[in-house]
């Protein structure tokens, strides 16, 4: 019987083994990249919305504050999507005939909701709460990016678990004074951009999150320039100066009583 395979097949067999290995590795790498890619995460994508609403125009241009529309960001797990009424508050007066706003007027007239597409869409098994993040010093822009510079809304971040954990394992790097939560342009303190913070109320020995006061201008100078009476009725708070996010972050972790990374990264915090 003649041989089916000639000697050359040996090399082919060896090569195919190596090739198989390479294909498996390549497949792994591809899948790994793929599941982090914007195609899957939708990072940076701008879905078709019923109205091409511009955050840039409303926030940067008109100075509308975040909570004017997202009313429950501080009090609930959802930040809240504004009802049609919120749009109509202004657009009953201005741009009343704009073609772009036709769906809004339709919604107002018919009582049908505007069907927005969710841009920041966490999987259903993730129980995320806006209120605790906002109350504990995570600014809107930390997760949503510079919304004030987005003509059309998109997700700045992947919102994947590794991204969440990145902060939960070291929250100090993203904490900011609660007074700056809605400040889109907030930048971490640096040596040329220091921040002064003081703990407001130590009566109970337990400072509350809201009682840490931070300012970006040197407090003493400010007081003097305003001509406030020194040593008057207002007790002088002890301001500490911070020149890096690390210092500020750790100060805030202490005073906001942020839970330990071990606790924050535990499964049951987000999944139940």
């Amino acid at each position: 019987m003649a041989q089916i395979f000639d000697r050359g097949s040996n090399a082919l067999a060896r090569a195919s083994l190596v090739l198989t290995g390479l294909i498996v590795i390549a497949l792994g790498v591809t899948l790994n990249e793929l599941q982090r890619s914007p195609w899957v995460t939708r990072q940076g994508q701008r879905p078709d919305q019923p109205v091409p609403f511009s955050h840039k125009h409303h926030v940067q241009g008109l100075g509308v504050q975040c909570q004017y529309c997202h009313v429950t960001a501080e009090t609930s797990s959802y930040a809240g999507i504004p009802p049609t009424k919120t749009c109509i508050n202004c657009h009953a007066q201005i741009w009343t005939n704009a073609q772009l706003l036709e769906p809004v007027r339709q919604s107002w007239a018919t009582g049908q909701s505007l069907p927005w597409i969710k841009v920041h869409d966490l999987p259903d098994y993730v129980y995320f709460s806006h209120e605790i993040h906002v109350n504990k010093g995570i600014g809107c822009a930390s997760c949503h990016g510079r919304v004030d510079q987005m003509p059309l809304m998109y997700a700045q971040n992947t919102l994947q678990m590794e991204w969440c954990l990145d902060c939960h394992r070291n929250p100090a790097k993203n904490l900011r004074p609660t007074s700056e939560i809605y400040n889109m342009a907030w930048e971490a303190p640096a040596s040329d951009r220091p921040v002064w913070c003081a703990v407001g109320d130590e009566k109970s020995g337990l400072p509350t999150a809201q009682s840490v006061n931070c300012v970006t201008k040197e407090p003493g100078v400010e007081v003097a320039s305003l001509g406030m009476p020194a040593g008057g009725a207002v007790p002088e708070a002890k301001y500490e100066k911070f020149t890096s996010q690390d210092e500020l972050g750790h100060f805030l972790v202490d005073h906001y009583k942020i839970r330990t990374p071990n606790e924050l990264a535990s499964c049951e915090v987000c999944h139940r």
Partner: protein, 1066 residues
Amino acid sequence: MSGDEMKGQSGTEALAFDDGVGRISEEHTSGAKAHADSFGIDAGVKTPAYEPGVATTAEPMTLVQIRQELKGVKGKRYWRSVDELANTPEFQAAVEKEFPGSPHAWGDEVSRRGFLKFMGASAALAGLAGCTKQPDEPIYPYIKAPEDLILGKPMYFATAHPFVTGAVPLLVKTDQFRPIKIDGNPEHPYNQGSSDPFTQATLLDLYDPDRSQHVTYRGENREWAEFAVELRNKVISTKDGTGIYFLSETITSPTLARQWREVQAKYPNAKLIQYDPAIAGTWPFRATQYSLADADVIVSLDADFLSGASFPGFHKMVREYAARRKSPETLNRLYSIESTPTTTGLKAEHRLGLRASEIPAFTAGLAKAVGVPGVEAPAYAWTDEQKKFLAAVARDLKAHAGRSVVIPGLYQDASVELLALAINNTLGNADKTVIHGQEVVDSLLRQWSSIEALVADLNADKVDWLVILHANPIYTAPADLYFASAFDKAKTVAHLGSHLDETGQISHWHIPSAHFLESWSDARAYDGTASIIQPMIDPLYGGKTAHHFFQALLDEPGLSPYEAVRETWKPVIKGDFETGWRKALHAGWIEGTSFAPNELVPEKMPGILRAPAPSSKDALEIIFRPDPNVYDGRWSNVGWLQELPKPVTNLSWDNAALVSGATLTKYGLEEDDIVELTVQGRKVNAPVIVVPGHPDNSVTVHLGYGRSFAGRVGSGAGFNAYLIRTSDAPFYAVGSMKKVEGKWGLAVTKSHFQDHRPKLFGGQGNGNNSLEADEAISERGIIRYATLDEYKADPGFANEGETHTTTDKSNTLFPNWEYKDNAWGMSIDMNSCTGCNACIIGCYAENNIAVVGKQQVRIGRNMQWLRIDTYFEGDLAAPRAHFQPMACQHCENAPCEQVCPVGATVHTPEGLNAMVYNRCVGTRYCSNNCPYKVRRFNFLLYSDFETESLKLMRNPDVTVRSRGVMEKCSYCLQRISAAKIEADKENRAIRDGEVVTACQQACPAQAISFGNINDKQSKVAKLQADERSYQVLADLNTRPRTKYVAAVLNLNPELQAGPVEHPAKG
């Protein structure tokens, strides 16, 4: 395995019990066997080859042997099912696996090749699934946002659940105005936040997809207005209402009663018949109320006041009963004389099982012994044991005159109520433990005669229009009235009901009714306090209420129920009406409406108190009781209640003929056999089941099953006991029973979720008992209790002989956790728990638990996160029982965590064992390694992801689990998280009592406490530090976070000698 085979094994006298466990359908059995064969294992249940310590030769025992076995045992000995005692092959098979029956979802054999093929495919799919994109999700915002609504935060509204034994005041949790959880109103004086299985389950009733959705006339869709006009015109045309009949459930709403009075004033010849099959003809309970707070001795005469809302005043009575049992210093003593085993009887210090007809005579004897004048007790051959019991109870009652109470049963002869009243009066209990109030529902006694009169009028062609309001007489009417044939004589029948039920099917008009969570009404609680029932949600299907019907006949036919209710209370609410009204809505009740205690009216008492003589000792009595789960059948289509194992029997999805072991032997039956029950020539086939402690020559059947048009859940479950229930003997009748061919296939969960260990690993090793029962006997004691004397001699009895120190943490290979901040723990008071099941239904609603269906329950796959284990003790004929709620123990050194290959069950920094569903791949190692058997696996896709109405019901804070995922009690993690966020926002610690678990909230006995055990001032920490607190299976070094408080029984020294063999039973 067939019954014949078993008989062959142990002789002709052999009694093989079979509660259906482990037995699966023919195909499954053969499939499992074939499967096992292919691996070279003999899957036959007779010889479990792979269990080294199991006595493979163990044979099923006869009843005589069981008794012998029980007699020989000194000290405490516990068992959970008769199967366990008899050591049937089914029982052995059940305990060998953590999930009884075949764990294989596939009926056919899976070959190695096929397995690889499937695995290859699933691996590839798993890889791909990781890359699938989420679909675009739309957001539909409001047009105008409702005021006060914070999306994502629940809102609570006060209302009440109208029920025939008294409304249950509620505080309903709504998410975006969808009711998602029902609980008692914590501020209401009557129930103080507690609820019961019925009330909890009305939530699923609201979202039942089988509710009727359209007004129909002869099957065609119509409008409500058409019907209302037709009804109104018809009634007007009669001028005085002649020929107009209303058949309603018992009217408990003051507004509805007022509307009816107005209708009657206008149309004096219109008739209203009230009929509630389960409770018709019982004593007018609201005239007499019981206050157990000051009762040292409680005697129940067939009164099942501890097991559910079927008994009027349940919530208050359980609370007061249990409050006295929290501390051994304040113990009361409960005697129960009952005709069918209930949790009340099994909870009692001393229990006497009597046939239903013996109880009036016994009561008369008791009255005589207590010294009630003018009592004629019928002569009866009482046994020595019964005489002794009677004498002891009488002496104890007299010794506690003024601090005792005798409670008559609802379903007993009227003489029992009168005699109990007389005993209470003689003892001076009136106005102390017995309070006489106004009688509000006075129609109950007359309900039988009025439905008889209705049938007579129907047959006499007097009925033009029959309007049926929330009643289902075709199904529930007494069999001797032949209601269905009389029904055809009515010219037009209109039916208001939530379902197109047996009556709705054949009525001309059908109007869908609005659920109480969808409508305005009012109701009175047991103590008389009136509550406004306010809607939580618009009627899902445009339902109407009885208010609409009566109002349609009045001068203002368009007046809404809302306005009608306001009108009723305008004269009652004092001060500014709007303020008072809003206050009543907010608080959940109207101030100052509770009953004022009245003086007892002595004229009510006849001069001579007589009791009917018992039926002959050989006569077979058939007792009719409303079902503990579906009541009279109104909740047949509520899956939670169908699947809930009934108290005492642990039977789910069916009703059965409950008999004693001796009666079973006498009739030559085995459990699960089908018997034919005959009463006055009417017959029904029923499966038979043994209940320890059931009186001999007596059969209990529960009403509410055998429905033909209940819906997708309830239709076809069980047998219809109404078929043999007649109007002259609605609660017990003399009948007969005989065996017919076949097996029923009951789903009993008693032997589920037990672990079985050979001697080598710490079990008793004789193979006769489950691990739990083995250890309940030994000093490891799962059940620990003491008599009051034992407790006084040794207050630390619960931890006596505990070889394992719970504080020693060095005894493990695994690193110990440190709990710095919160450490969640639970304490369950075994002395308070009455086994009423309210917690289980509360857990269903809170945690989105799936209903699996009867076949899946039969093979041990019910998904309840919480179960109540019933441990019987002592004589088969006169047992004592202990109820132990068992859910995840949240071990600090958890065996489940150590074996999970994918880290899907993890320990949290606060000591919870959390399940990460997304990680779970379904190896079930965790369940295998769990000694408490509290993990539940989704073998199939049990959760309903499709039905729209059920989506509205889900708790949005809890994941709905899919197929292939393990789940278990999470200590209501979602509630902990919510409290944590609230506390963290305020930078404070979580306060004691801020986290309440769903089971704790529902519990009417307040047996469950939950909190932070690191906080030594917390209630749970104090309870866990109590010397009566013990951990279950602590010697496995699991360090469970749930601790049980051992029971202390306040036995009467006269009767203390322990359970005595009943001489008459053999």
